[in-house]
């Protein structure tokens, strides 16, 4: 609904399937962006229809390609597993029970020396994706906006503080979502922005009182 010229004539992508290949490459890129750099090891879980058809759709190549920073139109995707071996990226792939209510879902655990993340995402068709979970927190990120993922103590005034800092930098908020482990515990805030967020702003948010971490998740293609 509400199609545009380039939603009909596109995306430009590596085949065969916008949901099982292009969308999966995007989910791989999201996991890389959440980790904040190249992973050294990854574990992929394919669920639902992915579990039975991931090989024939090249979803394994697409997710590993995305994790190595390839976008969904990158013609190196068919060679992604070979490239991963050359680069020494350690990967395992398993299939299993549902991680999400959606028929096309996957789980990515990715790590490097600095960090380790767990992400659950779904491919919604036409290359559209949704990241539903990061490290156990419910989120909703579709990869179309430059986003921030902020972990902070659950205290009054956090939203206002962060929103006004972004406003002072002329960064408009498109969507925002809050989630907490328990009242007064650790809370997660995701902010999808209309504009890119500069490194200084990200650092300043990260240094605010009661903020544990602030990560920038660039949009994916």
């Amino acid at each position: 609904m509400g199609e545009t010229v380039f939603s009909v004539l596109g995306p430009i992508m590596v085949g065969p399937s916008s949901s099982h290949t292009a969308g999966v490459a995007r989910l791989g890129q999201m996991a890389r962006n959440i980790l904040g750099g190249a992973p050294q090891g990854v574990e992929i879980g394919f669920f639902g229809s992915f579990a039975t058809t991931y090989k024939g759709h090249g979803s394994d190549l697409a997710v590993i390609g995305g994790l190595m920073g390839m976008d969904s139109a990158d013609s190196r995707i068919p060679l992604a597993l070979k490239i991963a071996v050359e680069k020494g990226l350690d990967y395992t792939i398993r299939t299993g029970e549902q991680a999400s209510s959606h028929p096309n879902s996957l789980e990515i655990i990715a790590w490097n020396e600095e960090d380790r993340i767990e992400m659950v995402g779904v491919s919604r068709g036409g290359g559209n994706i949704l990241v539903e979970e990061i490290n156990g927190f419910d989120v909703r990120l579709d990869g179309q906006y430059p986003s921030l993922w902020i972990l902070h103590d659950d205290r009054p005034g956090m939203v206002g503080k962060i929103a006004s800092l972004l406003a002072s930098r002329q960064i408009n908020i498109a969507y925002m979502r809050l989630e907490r482990s328990q009242p007064g515990g650790l809370a997660s805030m995701t902010i999808e922005c209309d504009d890119q967020v500069d490194a200084k702003t990200i650092r300043e948010i990260g240094q605010k009182d009661s903020v544990q971490s602030c990560r920038y998740i660039p949009r994916v293609r």
Binding site: M1, M13, V14, G58
Partner: protein, 290 residues
């Protein structure tokens, strides 16, 4: 509420503003997305180039696809028809081979433009490039044809999703045939109402087409179906040129397709639970994949 984007609105906007059908889409896109004309033209140029590369690569392809059911179809056909005359006609077989080549490229993880989807990616470029060679059409003309094809997809998208999973294959290869027919007729000088008639005739004959791919992969019947759908588009163009008209108006054909999309059982919507996917051979092939 914004009125639905229909063939009728498209036509009346073209008449009222004195713009060609392609210019209406260009203007509409500029209004809707805030993009400049140059940016849209560059986007069309990029797509045209990717389509051309995928055609070239597909015609050369010999490597078996990940699902193992598709290999070197267009090469085989080209080889045969370089020494044999087709029963159908040289333009027809060329169009089919082009569409199949890009279908193979998609199945084999080549780079393609999903138009409107990956599974149906060969139909519009197959028809356009084959006609462009015969009629010596320029890239600027082809871009106008792409604007028409996009406008058609925008009309359909108002009423239904263009994906096998939501509407069956009529929503992928059927829509692509309609886009190709309308776009190519415009390229051939068709104007006004007759452009949409080509859409209507092509799509009417693909209504109800189910999506039953073997093993749930975009290989069988998808790749060869690109060839058939492209040829449907050619026939629709000639029937309209020859003076025929769809008794059911183009906008109502879209209504019918959306209605059928709702009525189709989910077993025939990309789930591999019916049709070809559930044949003895289909089941054997899909078992071998796992």
């Amino acid at each position: 509420m914004k009125p639905l984007w229909t063939f009728e609105n498209w036509l009346s906007r073209s008449r009222e503003e004195g713009l060609s059908l392609a210019e209406v889409i260009l203007k509409k896109e500029m209004e809707a997305t805030g993009a400049k004309k140059d940016e849209i033209m560059d986007g069309l140029e990029e797509r045209l180039q990717v389509m051309r590369e995928s055609l070239k690569a597909g015609l050369e392809r010999e490597k078996t696809t990940p699902g193992g059911m598709i290999k070197d179809e267009s090469k085989t056909l080209n080889h045969f028809f370089s020494n044999n005359r087709p029963i159908t006609g040289s333009g027809v077989i060329k169009t089919a081979i082009y569409a199949i080549a890009i279908g193979q490229e998609n199945a084999g993880m080549g780079r393609i433009v999903a138009i409107p989807t990956g599974g149906s990616a060969g139909i519009v470029p197959g028809v356009f490039f084959s006609i462009a060679e015969d009629k010596k059409l320029s890239d600027d003309q082809l871009k106008e044809g792409l604007l028409i094809a996009a406008g058609v997809g925008m009309v359909v998208g108002e009423k239904m999703g263009m994906a096998g999973a939501s509407g069956g294959c009529q929503a992928e290869c059927g829509v692509a045939a309609g886009m190709a027919a309308a776009g190519a007729l415009f390229l051939l000088g068709g104007r006004g109402e007759e452009v949409f008639q080509a859409f209507a005739l092509a799509v009417k004959n693909m209504l109800g087409l189910v999506c039953d791919p073997v093993g749930g992969l975009v290989e069988v019947p998808c790749v060869k179906r690109n060839g058939f759908a492209a040829v449907q588009a050619l026939l629709a163009i000639d029937l309209v040129r020859g003076g025929l008209k769809s008794v059911i108006p183009p906008d109502e054909v879209v209504d019918a397709m959306a209605d059928i999309a709702r009525l189709l059982p989910s077993a025939l919507k990309e789930t591999a639970q019916g049709g070809l996917a559930q044949t003895k051979t289909g089941l054997n092939l899909s078992e071998r994949l796992q």
